[in-house]
């Protein structure tokens, strides 16, 4: 408050400065508050004047319109305040204290008017100003007048705190006001019932310590005043549409006021503290907005450029169709599913080589192959090497026959599960993930959960032996419950040409929403790799070796699943 802001000073800069320093001050120039509150009250300009006019200019016809019982006490105060404000010479020391005190004192008249919400208000009115004026006797008269004036201000000053800030885009309170105003129809029906309640106001204040309630109630009560004023205005307005709007504005004022009343002292302090720490001058700096504009423009240009490039075909895929740009686009979603939705805990990632070939062999479950996506996410997100290694999952070749699914899977780096593809990928030193259970696993019924199905005919072991790639068994726990598959409607599946048609508690009953997986808690365990370089590649043709290794991998996965299931306390 070092710069003595005169009301004639640069009007744009003055109110935020005050708000910044947390001084609900008398000298805040009126016009700015009008502007501020208008902005708060929303696009409908017919609503704000009754709310703001009293605070700014008592000559506004609307302010004179309401019945005298509400307008009178405050009018006088305002008249006194306005000259004081105009003089710009108010004693800072006193006004600084007054700012708070009147907030409490103001409750007196307003409460009396709104039906005596508190009993102890009158003494407060009497005491506070006198206590304050003691220190500055010379300014006694001024302060005396100042006090209620400051109250109105502090309403609008707390409005400075509560409302000014948001105007420049910081805090939520006025948000609803601004946004709700246009949507009059539903709101009106709700708010139109409010006047009845006015007679029996909520005794929120009594729930808290009186002083707390007092402090917080100051601005709140002013809001109630405004509300009454607005309602009075409503009574006069002829047009129903306008009156509805005003009804709603009044209701919103009341809502904000009631909520402010419920706030404890600490909360108010904290909110003020937060608001005080926002340096509003930054927001007024054109360069700030230019900077934001540049950032936004860059973002938009980037996105548009990306889409244009895609539409011109200027991108490249690997021979299997993997498109790194598409992966980058879906990765945030997979990260969300990984971290937030399923809160996956990945263990043993050090068993996954950071370079070179390896074959991940996992149990398959959960109707839709989310487990493959999560294994890929685990390697991409949590692998100690952090080299964003992409897991190439092998999917059932049936998916290649589906429109939209086929190109998407290919772009994501997934490859139809054919032995040739597995061997080729491994020979390219890729990290390949297979689900030997295949359909038998993914379409498992809920009652069979965590019981591994047959591991095919050991094709994955053959591929690993031929490519001399280590086999890393992977146990996924939690995916069985994401869609509890109670039954399999085989006739429908046959009709639709699907491998199975799941019946879960939610699907198909809830349609698309039934396809939202349950947010179970997952754990993915990467076991120690089984080396295959001790075998000769030609042993891939030996059924005994192949089937033996297959069984070994299966047992290891089953044992890990059982251990993890025993550890698990609950599904979610």
């Amino acid at each position: 408050m070092s710069d003595d802001t005169s009301p004639n000073g640069r009007p744009t800069e003055a109110p935020p400065t005050e708000a910044t320093e947390g001084l609900p001050d008398v000298v805040a120039p009126g016009p700015d508050h009008v502007g501020a509150q208008e902005a708060v009250a929303g696009p409908d300009e017919r609503v704000p004047p009754p709310a703001t006019a009293p605070g700014a200019d008592e000559r506004t016809p609307l302010a004179d319109a309401p019945p005298p019982e509400t307008a009178a006490p405050r009018k006088g105060a305002r008249r006194a305040a306005s000259p004081a404000a105009a003089s710009g010479k108010t004693s800072r020391a006193s006004s600084r204290k007054n700012a708070r005190a009147p907030a409490a004192s103001a409750t007196g008249p307003s409460r009396a008017k709104t039906g005596g919400r508190t009993t102890q208000a009158p003494p407060a009115v009497m005491e506070t100003p006198s206590a304050e004026t003691e220190g500055a006797p010379g300014a006694a008269a001024e302060t005396g007048f100042d006090a209620p004036g400051a109250e109105t201000r502090s309403a609008s000053a707390s409005a400075t705190n509560w409302f000014d800030v948001p105007v420049t885009g910081a805090a939520p309170p006025p948000g609803p006001t601004a946004s709700a105003a246009p949507s009059a129809v539903p709101a009106t029906s709700f708010w139109s019932e409010r006047p009845i309640e006015l007679a029996t106001p909520p005794s929120a204040g009594s729930l808290y310590e009186a002083s707390n309630a007092e402090r917080a109630a100051g601005p709140a009560d002013t809001l109630f005043e405004f509300e009454v004023e607005v309602r009075n205005n409503v009574a006069e307005t002829v047009t129903s549409e306008v009156s509805e709007m005003q009804n709603m504005a009044a209701g919103l004022l009341r809502l904000v006021g009631e909520n402010m009343r419920r706030m404890t002292d600490r909360q108010v302090e904290r909110a003020n503290e937060i608001l005080r720490n926002i340096d509003l001058r930054d927001y007024l700096d054109p360069d700030f907005w230019k900077g934001i504009g540049m950032v936004l423009r860059y973002q938009i240009d980037e996105q548009v450029g990306f889409i244009k490039r895609r539409l011109n075909g200027e991108y490249s895929t690997d021979p299997f169709g993997m498109d790194p740009e598409v992966i980058a686009v879906v990765r945030p979603f997979l990260r969300f599913m990984y971290r937030t939705w399923w809160r996956v805990r990945a263990e043993g990632l050090e068993n996954v080589p950071s370079t070179g070939r390896a074959l991940l062999v996992a149990n398959h479950s959960g109707v839709l192959p989310w487990d493959g996506a999560m294994i890929a996410a685990a390697v991409a997100e949590d692998h100690p090497a952090q080299n964003d290694r992409i897991v190439r999952s092998l999917h059932l070749h049936w998916f290649s026959t589906l429109p939209f699914v086929a190109p998407t899977l290919a772009a994501m780096g997934q490859v139809p599960g054919l032995p040739e593809n597995a061997i080729r990928l491994l020979q390219n030193d890729e990290l390949v993930c297979v689900f030997p259970e295949g359909l038998k696993g993914v379409g498992k019924l809920y009652k069979d959960r965590y019981k591994l199905a047959r591991f095919g005919r050991g094709g994955f072991v053959q591929a690993a032996l031929r490519a001399q790639a280590p086999i890393v068994p992977v146990a996924v726990v939690g995916a069985e419950e994401i869609y509890p598959m109670l039954g399999n409607a085989q006739p429908i599946a046959k009709l639709l040409g699907m491998p199975y048609f799941p019946i879960t508690p939610f699907f198909p009953w809830l349609g698309v929403f039934g396809a939202i997986p349950l947010p179970t808690r997952w754990s993915i365990t990467f076991c120690e790799p089984l080396p295959t370089d001790t075998y000769d590649p030609s042993e891939a043709d030996d059924p005994l070796t192949v089937l033996g290794l297959t069984e070994l991998v299966r047992e290891r996965i089953q044992a890990t699943i059982d251990a993890k299931l025993a550890e698990r306390k609950m599904i979610f």
Binding site: G313, F404, A406, R424
Partner: protein, 329 residues
């Protein structure tokens, strides 16, 4: 001294093969076409005619031909007017030529084919190697001709150990006219909704290089020749400056079953090739022929877009002009 007979020197590919083989001082080249070669043919001696089987035997014997490069397929380098005639030329003509080669004691036949002979299916590996069998039953049109000729050739040489056949399975050619160029340069290339197969392309020069190498080497069997990079079909169309038109698959099936063959526009293959990819592995050609593509598919499409349909024709026209101006001197 290798004596090479090029059947189909009247195409851009045949002319280019003749030119490349001419670089080998040891080679002597005889060319046969139905018309004038459209490009310089090096040291090749050629004549325009349409020979029957017996006349082929006479020619091959008279010239003591050792290697036959068979490129004479209707619909491959210029549009085929009539399907029945095309089958006559492609299948029956090839059978006649094979018979003549066996009768004339030709050592080796290098045969033009297409990677599409593997068919397009979800069960094909993502990168098809040469040991994948030919999917004759699923093919139609020119691809079926290629597949039939290949099948016939395999059976034919199986009983004649003195005769070798190397079939070069080329990805869709970009250079002169080809069905794929026709598809990519005409407005509104058709696609199927929800499918976007990967495709490979091949530059005309790279293909000619493959034939020249195959003609002068002694390896047999099928070889895949294709660009190293892979494009999505929609990507290729967009790179060519076109907007794809996506059709619903049931609509296409219905139209095809009702006999409307024009529903897929200029798409040169069957509808299955719009669903599934047919991408090949060229490792064998690289190892055994020492061949490697010099142009990527993306480059080829850029050239196609820049120069119109006949990418290579600038050089061709230049050479033709020089030849014409030099005739008086």
């Amino acid at each position: 001294m290798t004596r090479v007979f090029i059947n189909g020197i009247d195409g851009l590919l045949g002319a280019r093969v003749a030119e490349l083989i001419s670089r080998d001082r040891e080679a002597r080249i005889v060319g046969l076409g139905r018309a004038r070669p459209p490009a310089p043919v090096g040291r090749a001696e050629w004549f325009a005619a349409r020979l029957s089987g017996k006349q082929f035997v006479e020619l091959l014997r008279a010239e003591a031909i050792e290697v036959v490069v068979h490129l004479d397929f209707a619909g491959a380098e210029r549009p085929a007017e009539d399907r029945e005639q095309a089958v006559q030329q492609n299948v029956i003509g090839s059978m006649e030529l094979f018979g003549a080669c066996a009768a004339a004691g030709v050592r080796r036949i290098v045969l033009l084919s297409h990677v599409g002979v593997y068919g397009a299916s979800a069960l094909n590996p993502s990168m098809i190697t040469e040991d994948r069998p030919i999917a004759l039953a699923t093919l139609s049109g020119l691809l079926r001709d290629f597949a039939e000729v290949e099948q016939f050739a395999m059976d034919f040489v199986a009983r004649r150990p003195m005769l070798q056949v190397a079939s070069l399975r080329l990805a869709s050619l970009i250079g002169g006219w080809s069905p794929m160029v026709e598809y990519l340069t005409n407005p509104g290339p058709r696609m199927l909704v929800g499918f976007d197969p990967r495709i490979q392309l091949l530059g005309l020069d790279d293909a000619a290089e493959g034939f020249a190498r195959a003609a002068l080497s002694s390896v047999a069997g099928p070889f895949n020749l294709a660009s190293d990079d892979v494009l999505r079909l929609s990507q290729a169309i967009r790179l060519a400056g076109q907007q794809p038109v996506a059709l619903l698959e049931p609509v296409v099936e219905l139209a095809l079953s009702l006999g409307n063959t024009g529903v897929l526009g200029h798409w040169p293959f069957g509808p299955s090739f719009l669903r599934y990819s047919c991408v090949v592995d060229t490792q064998r050609a690289k190892c055994e022929l020492g061949w490697a593509p010099t142009r990527s598919a993306a480059e080829l499409i850029q050239m196609l877009r820049a120069n119109g349909r006949l990418v290579e024709d600038r050089a061709v026209s230049e050479a033709a002009l020089r030849e014409f101006l030099a005739r008086r001197s």
